[in-house]
């Protein structure tokens, strides 16, 4: 009896919290739902009744945006650039973070600090020279060049996060591996990496999101339509099709849906990536 009433009491107490959360969630999600609904409407319907749900579903908006406005190409570019960047970042940052966390060498602290500084500068602080450097190296207007720029941009945070994680590894592990005849690269490759799976996943998803969404540097470095990533393609697309309301909404959705899918699949890893990096 008493247990029950305690439970009810607790429920009553948390009622206002639920109320606020529900209201905030609805307000937060309404724009997203509205954009999805609008992409299924006809132009006439969007104009005349922007708030109503679609009376019939116009899936051809998506088909037109995908095939008619080269979103297939943008999509491929985004996948290619993002996946490659993530792989390179994971490999290079784990190598470096291992050295920073576990090895003693002159300059360890200082070089690590030089990496940290990189997180503080606004993007605009490097744009001009970066542009001319990329032309100098024949890497402007190239997906490969953009990958290098993205990798360089993600490294500081990645190293910071993995270093914190590797520092938590017991020294005994490495010592016993050494006794078994493991050299340091073998230890890194055979033991450290597999044991760091959760952190690498979290970091990978985090870098994936950042790279997939990047716009400023792509805008500056990529010229050709066939090399544009999705966010860049979306701006070019909006230039051409803004008066076609429905197609415009479909384009926004095509750019947003892949991140939503990755988010739903790896939500836990992503949030871990954000919070682990921040709380350590």
């Amino acid at each position: 009896m008493e247990f029950l009433s305690g439970n009810t009491q607790r429920r009553l107490r948390s009622l206002p919290f639920y109320l606020v959360l529900i209201v905030t969630t609805v307000i937060t999600l309404v724009p997203i739902v509205w954009v999805f609904a609008s992409a299924l409407k006809s132009n006439k319907e969007i104009r005349e009744n922007p708030l109503a749900l679609p009376s019939e579903w116009h899936f051809q908006n998506y088909v037109e945006a995908w095939f008619g406005a080269s979103f297939d190409q943008y999509f491929f570019n985004s996948i290619f650039i993002t996946v490659t960047s993530v792989a390179i970042v994971l490999f290079l940052s784990s190598l470096a973070a291992y050295a920073f966390a576990k090895m003693r060498f002159p300059g360890n602290q200082m070089i690590f600090f030089v990496f940290l500084i990189g997180m503080a500068f606004p993007l605009s602080a490097k744009l001009g020279p970066l542009l001319s450097l990329m032309y100098e190296l024949n890497l402007a207007n190239s997906r490969f060049g953009l990958i290098l720029v993205y990798v360089a941009g993600s490294l500081p945070f990645a190293i910071l996060m993995l270093r914190a994680f590797f520092q938590g590894f017991p020294q005994e592990l490495e010592d016993s591996a050494a006794l078994d005849g493991c050299n340091r690269f073998q230890f890194y490759w055979r033991i450290l990496l597999p044991l760091s799976k959760p952190s690498l996943m979290a970091l990978g998803i985090f870098v994936f999101m950042g790279t997939w969404n990047e716009f400023f540097q792509a805008l500056l470095l990529i010229n050709e339509d066939s090399k544009r990533t999705l966010p860049l393609g979306l701006t070019a697309f909006q230039d051409e099709y803004f008066t076609d309301f429905a197609l415009s909404f479909a384009g926004i959705n095509i750019t947003a849906v892949p991140v939503i899918i990755v988010y739903i699949m790896f939500q836990r890893n992503l949030i871990e990536g954000i919070t682990v990096g921040s709380l350590k």
Partner: protein, 429 residues
């Protein structure tokens, strides 16, 4: 997912990354020799879908030259110019480019030695006789010719013919009559002046049009880019009239919050029934398929004494990069300036060539009207002032025009701001 799975994924990713690194390195090595010469093109001077069509047609007809088309240009003029100039400086830009804004842009490219001198080509190809002197003078720098004027365009008012008929309106011949038309449109609950200044060039275009139509050629002197921006008292009438479009309630609401495309939507939907624009608008309008007929008239001059009929000029010019393979590039340009292609472009998408042709009569009446009026006025409208703005001035003009239209600046203050921006630019260069 267990550990060994994870490791194999990771190994796969690493191998993939290394393979991509290698592929990237290989792609930097020079391409293998081919039978035909590749000519890189960013645009041929028309809308990008039409450019692609032309490229296909060219490649079918030629074995020895192959056009490689890179779709780079977007609606953002300043972004385009920036990409072009940086790429050309690094010899990574197009070999041939159509549709270039001559003026400040051409001058900058010539100054850094990026553009081929075409004087000899003009003489040998006979092109020199086909281009009016006043157009030729704009692509001539210190006695040498660097570009080929490609098309000619002039700005005027496109109107909804059906709505005009319904309201029993005539096309105006004087500025007073134009105001009367605007009043009538306003009384009927429509917008007479379509304005979306949230981004890009329309604000510079419109402000220039009004200054031009009150100050005439005095305004052109302002824009030469090497002289300080003078007081241009005669520009003030035009600016007053421009501001009046909003102040008197002729324009659509929120002119500063919506952009060009959003404003055109008002026209296509029939809420707004006149729009100040250039002939490139026809192609847009055809794609939008409005359910009414479109007519055209020149905006009557604010100051009837002015010596200029309308704003306009060379819409775009063709250049050849200094680093381009010469013979192949000339072949492309010769083909592009042929009468056949020019007439076809006029027929298909209403683009009037700058080299004189006879306007064929069997094209849509609206195309015919604009093409023949533009051709008839070629000596008066051969100058596109907006493109003569120094880059710094052009970059800021959009914001400063917004200031005036939003009532934050008077026309006098507008000119002061432009003057200050212009002299800051002169001090730097």
């Amino acid at each position: 997912m267990n550990t060994s799975h994870f490791r194999s994924i990771f190994q796969f990713l690493t191998v993939a990354a290394l393979a991509i690194l290698l592929a990237g390195a290989l792609s930097l090595s020079p391409a293998l020799a081919q039978d035909s010469t590749d000519i890189l093109v960013w645009g041929l001077g028309y809308a990008s879908n039409y450019d692609e069509l032309l490229v296909e047609r060219f490649n079918e007809a030629h074995d020895d030259v192959n056009i490689v088309f890179e779709d780079v240009l977007t609606g953002e003029i300043s972004e385009n110019n920036q990409k072009l100039r940086v790429a050309m400086q690094n010899e990574a830009g197009p070999d041939v480019l159509g549709g270039l804004d001559v003026g400040a842009n051409l001058r900058a490219l010539v100054a850094t030695g990026q553009v081929r001198d075409l004087t000899e080509f003009y003489r040998e190809s006979g092109l020199i006789e086909r281009i009016p002197d006043n157009l030729l003078s704009q692509v001539t720098i210190e006695g040498r010719i660097y570009a080929i004027p490609q098309n000619l365009e002039s700005v005027g008012i496109f109107y909804n013919k059906d709505a005009f008929a319904e309201l029993e309106l005539e096309t105006p011949a004087t500025f007073e009559e134009y105001i009367d038309v605007l009043e009538a449109v306003k009384d009927a609950g429509h917008y007479g002046y379509t304005m979306g200044l949230a981004g890009g060039w329309p604000s510079a275009l419109m402000a220039s049009m009004f200054m031009y139509s009150s100050a005439g050629s005095e305004y052109i002197d302002v824009l030469s880019g090497t002289q300080p921006w003078p007081d241009c008292d005669n520009c003030l009438d035009g600016l007053d009239a421009f501001q009046g479009m909003v102040a008197n309630g002729y324009a659509n609401p929120d002119p500063l919050g919506i952009d060009y495309d959003q404003s055109l939507d008002l026209f296509y939907q029939g809420q707004s029934i006149m729009v100040l624009n250039g002939p490139w608008f026809i192609n847009d309008a055809n794609l939008a398929e409005p359910d009414f007929e479109i007519g055209f008239f020149y905006l009557p001059a604010v100051n009837p004494a002015t010596d200029i009929k309308t704003l306009g000029g060379i819409g775009g010019s063709i250049i050849i990069a200094e680093y381009a393979p010469v013979d192949a590039a000339f072949k492309v340009v010769e083909w592009l300036t042929s009468e056949e292609i020019a007439v076809q472009a006029l027929r298909d998408i209403a683009v009037l060539p700058a080299f004189s042709i006879d306007v064929p009569e069997d094209i849509p009446p609206l195309y015919y009207q604009i093409a023949s009026e533009t051709a008839a006025n070629v000596d008066k409208i051969g100058f596109w002032p907006v493109t003569y703005l120094a880059p710094k001035v052009f970059g800021d003009m959009n914001q400063i025009v917004q200031g005036m239209i939003g009532g934050m600046l008077t026309p006098e203050e507008f000119l002061d701001e432009m003057q200050a921006t212009h002299s800051a630019y002169l001090a730097e260069s």
